[in-house]
Symmetry: C2
Subunit: 369 residues, 2 copies
Amino acid sequence: MHRHTFLFLAACFICAAQTSDSQPASSNVRNAEYPRIHSDLRITFRLKAPDAKTVKLHPGGDGLGKEDMKMTQASDGFWTVTTDPAVPGFHYYWFLVDGAIVNDPASETYFGYGRPSSGIEIPEQGTDFYLPKDVPHGEIRIRPYLSKITGEWRRAYVYTPPGYDVNSRKRYPVLYLQHGAGEDERGWTAQGRVNFILDNLLAENKAKPMIIAMDRGYASKPGDPANLFEDVVVKDLIPLIDTSYRTLTDREHRAMAGLSMGSGQALQITLHHLELFSYIGAFSGTIRNFDANSSYNGVFADPVAFNRKVHLLWFGTGTAENALIAATRAAHQALEQAGIKSVLYESQGTAHEWQTWRRDLREFAPLLF
Amino acid sequence: MHRHTFLFLAACFICAAQTSDSQPASSNVRNAEYPRIHSDLRITFRLKAPDAKTVKLHPGGDGLGKEDMKMTQASDGFWTVTTDPAVPGFHYYWFLVDGAIVNDPASETYFGYGRPSSGIEIPEQGTDFYLPKDVPHGEIRIRPYLSKITGEWRRAYVYTPPGYDVNSRKRYPVLYLQHGAGEDERGWTAQGRVNFILDNLLAENKAKPMIIAMDRGYASKPGDPANLFEDVVVKDLIPLIDTSYRTLTDREHRAMAGLSMGSGQALQITLHHLELFSYIGAFSGTIRNFDANSSYNGVFADPVAFNRKVHLLWFGTGTAENALIAATRAAHQALEQAGIKSVLYESQGTAHEWQTWRRDLREFAPLLF
């Protein structure tokens, strides 16, 4: 029996008897019967396009497959395809209908690839660290602000932990947490489930209560493509968070992490501003061409001073991120040889996808503050 | 000169010189050049669908037009159409590509019609009451909860006014505010701009600081289609809000309003539970077949008692909501004849769309508490 089949059936036996071999994905909109997840994690997708000539399923990322999959038309105008067993986690996807990019009306959309994109949640059996449980819950707060840097309205998504409103004198450390390319400030909540991950860690006493601030990693002035995100973080966002929330405002209580493009931003912004940050997390991103004397303006040149200042320099990568895992291991080794302490976490079997980054956060957050 | 043209040019002169006759809609995703709004509020939509046979623009609601509009294909694979001048406000839309429902990759999606649907924001010249301004801002808080009624996870969107976190002893009245059919708890924030409307009213001292709680108007147990939303409000949501936020918990400080389907829910829930509510708002909804002795279990039978208990019974309708405006005027008159005080607000020139409901909220909120 396939491993997924066994685990899936075991979970079904626990939660509710399922008579069918498949059930609607939890990410479907209310009452949508498709996409359906089979017991072996094959997925059947369906789209109504009665007059189309060709319809394909396009997977975003590797979790649903690496190639576009041709769908076949039934007499009722619906096109369907069933994939091979999927990797558990969150996967973007869309359809190609006679060459047009088409989101699935039956799934929620998530901001990725620079636009709203369909997504599907594939359960990972035996794992519930990012699911809502009957534990105390924090909030995600949407806070608009006018950027002094770009002159435009922006918004931060801010996680406040359970109990934040109860004890009005307690102050909290802050993790700044960034999405990847083509995503935005909503990503860590909608795709990443940041609030449930933290709620669950806190319920088990595995992490310290913290505020998590998430912003859009793109920031430019109208007509000027330069990305001013570093300035936005330092001059807009940190002051906004420190004046709007009960934060601990010293560098000992401020961390930054990000995934993919966001890992590069986290490394750059923290290593440029060690007066502001003392914990650093790079999820699916690494330091390339490490040189102790020149990388990041020579911040690594004095390893004793660096190790004293930086309490955590953390790299996480999925073992299915082929080129990246080798580069990350190499950087970790080079840092070690230069006397710089860092942590390397490898997420088993996952690729450049949100399941890797959910696991990153689960492992990273307990090491903070 | 068309009225819209004049106002639009005047606004452009004030905000920034525009050399082109059209500009990207504010609702476009970052860097998307289409849809484009012309100075006379015609809209040009564009979609890439190189192999499609037919592509149409489908307006959701009347603001962009009442009929599907055929798009024409250029040699580069893009299909375009330019509409007649649009009604200002927020409008849903999508494309029909060889019969398939296709959201516009260039616009944000909004939950409407039971699925994520594209939307476009058409500016109303001279009006900025729902736009972000440089005034103190409240927050929208996303709060997950496990429903005792349905056994399922739900979430409330909760507006807390500016200053909520500053004075930790102040308590606030609560408005429960509902979306329309096919929408969900996100509607009043994403489509309605509830937070900016309240922030702006509060900055002008036109409304009392209040908490606004918004939930999904659908609530059913797995396998049972009955909508248990009234029970969810009374037994889940009100206790959640009253225990999670610093609320004033008596009926004198609790209001409920809703739009379209939500107006029916607001009337039903409040009139069934006058022990809980004393302010009532029906946006684009009315009481049909009013009978003082039998409507809503006879709650109107004693007008003196009703008027003493209910501080506001409010009906709002757009003058372009043809059948509804007559019915609403008739109900208002029937209530008056029965000695029941109510307020009738008519939104000039708007239909069954969000611009009506934004104006409803602007007029309704100042009358509360």
